[in-house]
Symmetry: C2
Amino acid sequence: MQDIEGLAWVPRSGYEDQCLQTDQGRAIRELLDRVGDKWTLLVIGTLSSGVLRFSELQRHIPGISQRMLTQTLRNLERDGLVTRTLHAEVPPRVEYELTPLGRTLIGPAAALANWAVDTQADIAAARDAYDARVAAR
Amino acid sequence: MQDIEGLAWVPRSGYEDQCLQTDQGRAIRELLDRVGDKWTLLVIGTLSSGVLRFSELQRHIPGISQRMLTQTLRNLERDGLVTRTLHAEVPPRVEYELTPLGRTLIGPAAALANWAVDTQADIAAARDAYDARVAAR
DNA sequence: CAGAATCCGCAGGGATACTG
DNA sequence: CAGTATCCCTGCGGATTCTG
């Protein structure tokens, strides 16, 4: 863990320095590289409820292809956020589960998801107003 | 604001129902559509420290092009997260600022950014271990 | 200064077919 | 069942040029 107090996303004395050029900027980039794609957050959200096997995951996440589910799970496994357990049976059974590290992402991610839900009405209204303003011109 | 208690990203009674097929799934999609691109979170993070004009924003966010800054700001303005104030001078001066609604995003987004910083060492280690395991085979 | 418009490369991701 | 491999296409975003 490293100290990030001076880099948090909050007002500083002013904004004279370029607060996003260093660690904070990199943090955001890494974050987006890791969970900013189309499926990762959905997979994590689905796995937050417990262990699931491949086909179950696919059924829980409508629209995801085999290819993308595999790819997403591999990346998560590589990052240490998900474990993959292959049971040597026939037919094979593979179970996926969030690691303790992966579970630490649930809180922040859920907060952001809840933000999306809480603000959707306001944002839709703002959008309509904006579009009306543009159309009127 | 609508009730989302039953849809939060937490363990439910089990996972027998498809928790991501409805509101929660849509929330994540909308979230990613809105802030999942390459620059939006960086712009919001930069504006969290106060009012900035176009050129200042561009200087504070290394690597962003005029095109993408403009586009990002337009979207944020349209969603009601940022205000654009054109001062009728010559040369023109345009100032951008987070709206109260936009400011509500700072907390959740910062939490996620901090997660990225806090976990980067663990994730890098997991990655190295994974790659070593794969290379050894 | 703050943009609008245009061109273009390439990576994310969908559809499909095949395999241990 | 749980993948892998291949093809293909869309659109994100960079570079450049032009304007009020």
